[in-house]
């Protein structure tokens, strides 16, 4: 019992920077939702049930253009396919001793950011850590969307701009510390960022959507790294991420 509470509290604490970033992004999302013709309730419902910024922004575009339901389904599949990769990674991270049904609840909250902080945990991951973070982050995401719809112009642009970098700052806080001691990780981070920049700016390749860019680069770079620098991780060792 104690351990669950401790995990939950730790999750809530790490959920704070996520909540700040989510608020900024979802506020902008709310403004877009209003322009697409959604009511505040509909926009809130969308945010609460989806928890995916890229997917929701794309959905708003589809809704306002009157796309078919099939188009909606395929677009969501393509944009959100990266979560599949994250869930594969987390399937090995989640504590095998925690009851199976937790996996059904836990998986609803696999966002880029929850994935980030969950991977950052040393050793096995308790689902209660994720629940704690979600308890803080999801209300911010949902309420931010609501506010964006009903009061899109009350938020000072400067504050919104500053908060928009919060999630990226958090990603940096996750990847940099372990790279200090591990030269392979440091190299991987630099190569990944440079490759993403190439994919972003080079002609033709830059047509690849951001969702697929993430998937392709992750599979290729992590794949090559796994072949060249396999981790010596035997049973019982708790140093895998």
């Amino acid at each position: 019992m104690k351990a669950k509470e401790a995990w939950f509290k730790k999750g809530m604490k790490d959920g704070i920077p996520i909540a700040l970033g989510y608020f900024a992004v979802s506020f902008t999302l709310g403004i877009a939702a209003k322009n697409a013709g959604l009511t505040a309730i509909q926009a809130m419902l969308m945010s609460l049930t989806n928890l995916t910024s890229a997917g929701e922004f794309a959905a708003l575009g589809l809704i306002s253009s009157g796309a078919t339901y099939l188009e909606m389904a395929v677009t969501q599949l393509v944009i959100n396919l990266r979560y599949c990769l994250m869930s594969c990674s987390l399937s090995q991270k989640i504590d095998p001793k925690s009851p199976y049904y937790h996996r059904f609840i836990f998986s609803a909250g696999v966002t880029d950011e929850i994935f980030g902080i969950s991977s950052n945990i040393e050793g096995k991951l308790s689902p209660f850590y994720s629940y704690g973070a979600l308890c803080v982050a999801v209300p911010a995401w949902t309420f931010g969307t609501f506010l964006g719809v009903v009061a899109g112009n009350i938020m000072p642009v400067r504050v919104l701009s500053a908060l928009s970098i919060a999630l990226f700052g958090m990603f940096i806080a996750i990847i940099i510390p372990p790279a200090k001691e591990d030269k392979v990780l440091a190299g991987l981070i630099i190569i990944s960022m440079l490759s993403a920049t190439l994919f972003y700016y080079l002609p033709i390749i830059s047509w690849i959507s951001s969702g697929f860019r993430i998937i392709i680069l992750t599979v290729v770079i992590a794949g090559i790294a796994a072949v060249l620098f396999p981790k010596e991780n035997e049973e019982g060792e708790e140093h895998e991420i």
Binding site: E56, L81, C88, I165, A173, T218
Partner: protein, 101 residues
């Protein structure tokens, strides 16, 4: 024909949930292959790096404030700052720089 917004939302939510849920529930056992384990070990670092850069540069109102936030985050993270410190530090750097320019 007018489409129903609630139906759109249900379809989105369902697809997105399935993508997240299937790997987590289908892969129950610990993977033994050293190669796959190593791959999954590297996945978060590569994914988070690819998502951060260059996207971070266009996240704020100007590339200069974004750069300031990026550099600030790296410095605080390198010194072992917590998630919230690094995150808020980069926000403050952006805010201050946008105040100046």
């Amino acid at each position: 024909m007018k489409f129903n917004i609630y139906l759109y939302i249900i379809i989105m939510a369902l697809i997105t949930y399935l993508i997240r849920m299937l790997p987590l529930t289908l892969i129950r056992k610990q993977i033994k292959s050293k190669r796959i384990r190593s791959f999954l070990y590297y996945v978060p670092y590569v994914t988070l790096s690819v998502m951060t850069f260059p996207a971070i540069l266009t996240s704020t109102s100007s590339i200069w404030s974004a750069l300031a936030g990026f550099v600030t985050a790296i410095i605080i993270a390198y010194r072992g700052g917590s998630l919230i410190k690094v995150s808020m530090g980069s926000c403050i750097a952006v805010f201050l720089l946008e105040f100046l320019i």
